[in-house]
């Protein structure tokens, strides 16, 4: 039986059509994956079903009846619940209190009854959570379980999960998958949003592929495979893997950290004594679940964050707490994770963004004045060399697509003589062709002798590019693992903070 039917759903945002006449249906008791690249419109579509957005066109039917969902409250009353990537829990409340929040008043009078019911739910579905624990003490995986429990307690029939594994270790993901299967067996329907092919093949019964806001196809898992899905997702046959010839790196250490400690934005310890070395021509991958000190590591190395203790050397020179100008002068480059926030001045044009690192020096400027001819020819050269698609050079760069914006940043960071590149999730939100471009550029730079510190959440990215992999957990390096698929389990354990898993390389 069809629980949910979406017909011709259309949603516009400024400049883009996020959903273009989408048809989608969900059967009772199935796990239906919504697969697509970042920006394909998956989350938008489900936010419409959950009542967060109103569609510009189309209709929604629940159990055959047309409905108008104008809020998540309405959605939940219709039996639809959604777990977003960012959780909506109150950290200082207990698990029980978080689940009670928003329930009618009667629920508050009998917390013991509620606790009993929760116990039953959590045993029935394998969702282990301690009801009295405060949410701030929980791991990310546990918080996710609380979110799911919250919805199950409200008796939803349809559970939408937005990229639920993005924040989990492989082990946690596995336990989530078990729970989801159990839920489906008891007749709940699940929408699983993801861009990871392996995952989708493992968990889903049916798969709907979205590309650029349109449905490419809906297929049964038994009738498809990873290659076919990848092709649908990106619209052409692609080689999923960029081949990297691993070479013996030279002995010259370019970047060296010794006992580095720093704080996060809240003033709490984020890095707790990191020591590492990256050699000339080497790519060191830093794996780990997001939020374990990745951003802070990128920022202390690039001079954007204060180092509390320890030392950082670049090409033998002490650059600890000397700011990013020193790093730039010594040939350092930074590809940040959040492009619009840390990579560009979004309202300035492409030239103004490209000269950011060399505007002080001739030939870009003479004395106090900027050399406009030189800047213009420099811009044209980089646009050509890095294949940046830009129709109007005077328009603000925020209007460029993610892939083109990343090309602008890479062009700026990699031109000239590069000694060190700090790349932090360099392909986040990019389509496959832009990802390939980034990979090839990084590999090319390494070949020319640059040391690359690759900090990434995506293990496939780490495996594809790195010579060595270090796993970051709670601000410490847990150990090193060779970048090979067969060490996936060890990496998973290290990511979860189990130290013994280190492999001798």
């Amino acid at each position: 039986m069809k629980i949910v039917e979406l017909r011709g759903i259309t949603k516009h945002f400024p400049n883009i059509v996020a959903n273009d006449r989408i048809n989608f249906d969900l059967q009772e008791g199935e796990i239906h994956a919504l697969l697509g690249e970042n920006g394909a419109g998956k989350t938008t579509l489900m936010n419409i079903l959950y009542g967060l957005y109103q569609p510009d066109g189309g209709e929604i039917r629940i159990k055959g009846k047309q409905v108008f969902i104008d809020s998540p409250k309405k959605a939940i009353s219709l039996g639809i619940g959604m777990v977003h990537q960012h959780f909506t829990l109150v950290p200082s409340f207990s698990v029980l209190e978080n689940i009670m929040l928003g329930l009618p008043r009667q629920a508050f009078s009998k917390p013991s009854k509620l606790r009993e019911e929760l116990q039953k739910l959590s045993q029935g579905y394998g969702l282990r959570v301690e009801p009295n624990a405060k949410v701030w003490q929980l791991s990310v995986g546990e918080m996710q379980r609380v979110e799911i429990m919250k919805l199950l307690y409200r008796d939803v029939d349809v559970l939408i999960l937005d990229e639920p594994t993005a924040v989990l270790t492989p082990q946690e993901a596995e336990s989530l998958f078990k729970t989801l299967k159990r839920l489906a067996n008891t007749g709940k329907s699940i929408v699983f949003i993801s861009h990871k092919l392996h995952e989708v093949m493992e968990i889903a019964d049916r798969i709907t592929v979205l590309r650029r806001g349109k449905v490419v196809n809906t297929v049964n898992k038994s009738e498809t495979n990873i290659e076919k899905l990848a092709e649908m997702m990106v619209g052409r046959k692609i080689v999923l893997r960029v081949k990297r010839q691993r070479r013996r790196p030279s002995e010259n250490v370019v970047l060296k950290l010794k006992g580095v400690r720093c704080h996060n934005d809240k003033g709490l310890p984020a890095l707790k004594g990191i020591s590492l070395e990256v050699k000339e021509g080497e790519i060191l991958g830093i794996a780990g679940v997001a939020g374990n000190g990745q951003r802070e590591l990128a920022e202390v190395v690039t001079g954007l964050r204060h180092t509390e203790e320890g030392k950082i050397w670049l090409s033998g020179k002490d650059i600890t707490n000397r700011g990013s100008k020193v790093l730039i002068d010594l040939g350092g480059g930074y590809i940040p994770a959040d492009r619009l926030r840390f990579g560009v001045a979004p309202n300035l044009n492409i030239s103004e963004n490209l000269i950011l690192k060399n505007y002080r020096k001739p030939p870009m400027s003479h004395g106090i004045s900027l050399n406009r001819q030189e800047i213009s020819s420099f811009t044209d050269r980089l646009i050509k060399e890095y294949d940046i698609m830009v129709s109007d050079k005077s328009m603000p760069v925020k209007l460029l697509s993610g892939g083109n914006l990343q090309r602008v940043i890479i062009a700026r960071e990699l031109q000239g003589e590069t000694k060190l590149i700090v790349a932090f999730n360099p392909t986040r939100g990019l389509d496959v062709s832009a990802t390939e471009f980034v990979y090839n550029r990084l590999i090319e730079s390494a070949k020319q002798g640059a040391a690359i510190l690759l900090i990434a959440g995506d293990l496939e990215e780490i495996f594809t590019l790195s010579d060595r992999v270090a796993v970051l957990y709670e601000g410490e390096i847990m150990g090193y693992v060779p970048p090979e698929e067969r060490y996936l389990r060890e990496i998973g354990l290290l990511m979860a903070g189990v130290r013994d898993a280190t492999i001798k390389t």
């Binding site: 017909r7 011709g8 259309t10 516009h12 400024p14 400049n15 006449r21 109103q54 569609p55 510009d56 066109g57 189309g58 209709e59 047309q66 108008f68 104008d70 690039t302 954007l304 700011g323 990013s324 100008k325 730039i328 930074y334 926030r341 840390f342 990579g343 560009v344 001045a345 979004p346 309202n347 300035l348 103004e352 000269i355 950011l356 690192k357 505007y359 002080r360 400027s365 106090i368 004045s369 900027l370 406009r372 328009m395 603000p396 209007l399």
Partner: protein, 370 residues
């Protein structure tokens, strides 16, 4: 049911902006006509007199230019700050500080110095006093993150009240029949007159605008200002000193306010007195904003704004309109120009909500299901 939605525009053409601004002004004129007709006055005659008086009559034009000078100088200073998204609304206080500084030099410190020394020193000291008034919010913003809007606003009151203290107290002219004003400055402190009572100060804004345009558009410093204004995080990565820039820019902005105050005292007022500014520092905010932060349009807008002040003054005299009619007209103009800004920044879209609740955009998707 029809619902209106605003969508930000990516880019709008200069021609379209001009069209919107002209339409807004015309609409304000039409609205004001209704007020005039209710009052039993002929709107056509009123507008004709306003324009003729403010821009063609020698006396009126002199008045326009005199009002233009401080509006333009303060406005240009604000353009610098606004470009870095520093919302300096302390132009009025900085203007007063400049006036106090110059008066002190010309009246008390070196009243007998020859003009070629006295005038430059008075102007420099006045400007520096304004710069100091800009530096305070700049330093507070850069080092402890204090909101510059609040600090500059508060400093306006302090500046104005300080000036009042001086003219009511220690600096009051002993032979001034107890009026709250200082004695008149010596003639060695007067700026040269160009025409009627238009002093040489009228040239300053034009010179400043040219220099400022070059700095903002062509210099390294202007580039840094632009990057910091747009994204301080990226500016920091590029090695720019964001804190220093905040202080420097606030000082420059204040310096211009102080300079304008100096010029006003030495060129026109020739003495410090209670309430000598009809709110130039506040009107300059509107001037800078309407000019879209371009130095040359700032000059143009300041001139038109000066004309508006003078033109509405003549209405009071000729048509026996109360002064509140002037305020109504100015208010209508500002409101309609600001509403016009919405059309420049956003595109308005009509969306129809269909009977059973689904929302659809009829204009673009006539065939989508309903």
């Amino acid at each position: 049911m029809l619902r209106l939605k605003l969508e930000p525009r990516e880019k709008s053409s200069t021609l379209f902006e001009l069209y919107v601004i002209i339409t807004s002004v015309l609409l304000a004129v039409v609205a004001m006509s209704i007020v005039l007709i209710i009052e039993g006055k002929d709107p056509f005659y009123a507008y004709k007199m306003m324009v003729l008086w403010a821009f063609t009559n020698p006396i009126g034009l002199q008045g326009t230019l005199i009002k233009f000078t401080p509006l333009a100088i303060i406005g240009l200073g604000l353009v610098v700050a606004f470009r870095m998204k520093l919302w300096n609304i302390g132009g009025e206080g900085q203007f007063y500080l400049g006036a106090i500084g110059s008066t002190y030099i010309a009246l008390y410190l070196m009243p007998d110095a020859p003009a070629y020394i006295l005038i430059p020193v008075a102007i420099i000291v006045g400007s520096l006093a304004g710069a100091m008034w800009g530096a305070i919010p700049g330093i507070l913003k850069a080092f402890i993150g204090a909101d510059e809007i609040v600090v500059t606003l508060m400093l306006n009151y302090i500046g104005i009240l300080w000036s009042d203290y001086l003219v009511y107290g220690p600096w009051k002219n002993p032979k001034g029949f107890n009026f709250p004003m200082t004695a008149i400055l010596g003639e060695n402190a007067f700026l040269p007159i160009l025409w009627g009572n238009v002093h040489i100060g009228v040239i300053f804004p034009i010179a400043i605008a040219i220099v400022l345009w070059w700095i903002l558009k062509r210099s390294r410093w202007g580039y840094e200002l632009k990057v910091i204004g747009d994204n301080p995080d990226v500016a920091r990565y590029a090695g720019m000193n964001v804190k220093k820039m905040i202080v420097v820019v606030m000082m420059i902005s204040g310096l211009m306010g102080g300079f304008a105050g100096s010029v006003q005292i030495l060129g026109l007022q020739h003495r410090l007195q209670h309430g000598f500014s009809p709110g130039y520092g506040y009107t300059a905010i509107i001037v800078a904003w309407l000019s879209r932060l371009n130095p040359f349009t700032t000059i143009l807008v300041a001139f038109l704004m000066g004309g508006l002040f003078v033109g509405t003054e003549i209405l009071q005299i000729l048509m026996k309109l109360p002064i509140s009619a002037t305020y109504i007209f100015q208010g209508l103009l500002f409101v309609s120009v600001l509403i016009g800004e919405i059309f420049i920044r956003y595109r308005i879209k009509a969306v129809r909500i269909s009977a059973h609740g689904g929302v659809r955009d009829d204009r673009r998707y006539p065939n989508s299901s309903s």
